[in-house]
Symmetry: C3
Subunit: 283 residues, 3 copies
Amino acid sequence: MSPAATPKPSTASPIIAILTDFGLRDPYVGIMKGVMLGATLVDIGHEIPPQDVQKAALDLADSVTWFPPETVFVAVVDPGVGSARRAVVASVGPTHLVGPDNGLLVPAVERLAAAQVSEGLAVRDIQEGTYTLPASQTFHGRDIFAPIAAHLAAGVDAERIGPLGEPLARIDLPQPRRRQDPPSLVGRILRVDGFGNLRTNIPGDWVAGLEGSALNVSMGALRPALEVPLVTSYATVPTGALLLIVGSAGTVELSVAGGSASQALGIGAGQPLELRPARAEVR
Amino acid sequence: MSPAATPKPSTASPIIAILTDFGLRDPYVGIMKGVMLGATLVDIGHEIPPQDVQKAALDLADSVTWFPPETVFVAVVDPGVGSARRAVVASVGPTHLVGPDNGLLVPAVERLAAAQVSEGLAVRDIQEGTYTLPASQTFHGRDIFAPIAAHLAAGVDAERIGPLGEPLARIDLPQPRRRQDPPSLVGRILRVDGFGNLRTNIPGDWVAGLEGSALNVSMGALRPALEVPLVTSYATVPTGALLLIVGSAGTVELSVAGGSASQALGIGAGQPLELRPARAEVR
Amino acid sequence: MSPAATPKPSTASPIIAILTDFGLRDPYVGIMKGVMLGATLVDIGHEIPPQDVQKAALDLADSVTWFPPETVFVAVVDPGVGSARRAVVASVGPTHLVGPDNGLLVPAVERLAAAQVSEGLAVRDIQEGTYTLPASQTFHGRDIFAPIAAHLAAGVDAERIGPLGEPLARIDLPQPRRRQDPPSLVGRILRVDGFGNLRTNIPGDWVAGLEGSALNVSMGALRPALEVPLVTSYATVPTGALLLIVGSAGTVELSVAGGSASQALGIGAGQPLELRPARAEVR
């Protein structure tokens, strides 16, 4: 999953990738960028629903392995701004992640650690002062996180940002599991994307070998179970038909060819679902 | 229409301009950018309605001549991802356009060819392998198109991307025409922009010389014909009044001064319309 | 309020920051960027409601001091495009602001002037010709403002852009005031942000020392007066509770912890409000 085939950047401009729930209607993102100029600034996204830490954590995790290892990520979805929640830098090898300690960074850290031989996670508590701006009461993205990211990108050693701290706070992401008798895969819709694709937390390799067959999808007693084919391309089924496919994040997705599964089924993030082989056993 | 007056970039950083229907709520655009870092990345837009190849094709065509000739354009509106549709590089002189072969690139290629002395269109079929990432089943923007664009921007010769292929697939864009008796111009609304301006496909030079006079606009038997002045500035008419004007894409637009023609008339893309001189002949 | 703590950019790439009401659905912003390539381009925002000069003026003013002093700002919210309104460059020390002369630039100019020892405001009328593109009738962002910004960023002296002109046209921004008997602060909601925070025009230092106490907020005869605590952190009050806080722009904001004050109160920009000490005097 590493973009080894892409050309190496010829310039040594450091990279900061940014993820927030600030939206694009207000000047907040632009102001953060003003503070971080000097690095190459890349948006992962700013339309995270306000204060939806889980969606942001997933988006960040799905993004981190596609950037060069030396990237500094700054993520600000921060309902606790101004409270006692820590501001941290989590470093995995050469990659730094800057943000509030509310679980936002954890799935990304795990993804990075899994992609590297050596984990080497270091969590540091950001100290306000030399490398931050005077902090307002409401906008630590501008005053704390952006200047810390800028300094890390400019080569300031993480050790100078602050002392090693406690492990990161975790968020309670639902975990998929396999049932045995009868065999089934139990998971949850983690995210709906702009096309209406329903991304589950069920790993793609749990359905390996079942491509081409139909799975029984149940989503609670109040909804009729569906029989949906597991395909390897949207184009396999007619436009408008439901399908299951292993998506770009490596997990099972429920989609409608040329349409929106979310609209067709009236389903959003959080929905539990269970997959059973319609005619064969899940391995 | 060429921005010859603008200063030459002092650095030789290659440029990639990106157009997709991925939206800004999901991390897909950011992930593509992670793969293309090293070039200067410019967004043409990502809020194309899902799978609206025609709108994307128009937006791309309206954009290409305003970028430096060596720009690599990567456009991904790709309902057929994973099907047998080709992935191509279309090169017009020094400009490369990377995307699916579903008509998306054709109007831009025609615009570029018209702007240059020598056409020299070359269409190449992208070969997966050396210059692409391992392809997922759903996200060729990340796995195929982005790395190809990155390599082209980094100076890899287009000949190494793949062999010359068939001509590009075309989309069926409605063509304007002139009627003679009685004289009129027959066209269609191609696009509604965020201000509610209705952009037609009627070339501005078809109405040259009629500025200052009124035109009769008919939009089907169910709508009353309107008499609308052809002006050279929105400010010519009172706020709230309808007007015709040759817009920035060089075609006739139907607008409301200080308002939205789309809202005022309840009209969207696809609407046929016919223009007749109210008192004089269309030349 | 100056980001002195951030690292100096190591490269000397000039910076252009862009603010428009063009939205992100259309290619207009991308086209402007094509014209300005060569500088580092930063978006302040493009989702200003169409032709809302006041919101744009506020956003620009809140942004300018967070960018390096040599930044060129180009702002295009231009209901009068094509009319006789001037196109100007306003220079405050090393900072240039490019846009229409409709009041859009004034609050930013005042903020910059207040932040610097020497004001040195120079207003120049843009001359079409050498440093502009042939002007269309509808898109001066592309044809006039972008190429002027590009040339200024590339080092062209402002004196060559055009002659010194009249003072800038002003917009009528509501001014806050203090009443004496009984003592109160009278202001207005200037802006609603994406979180639903209601930003007033009442300076934060007018409520200095009152943190921790409750203020009486009245918003007209038809709404019940509210008693709202002035806090220094959203986390001081329970989720869902109203609060007053001095926000990141240095003015009083009315917010709901973990929610939207705009939704909770059904209030938007323009709403007058009056603050009174619930138990103590406003100083």
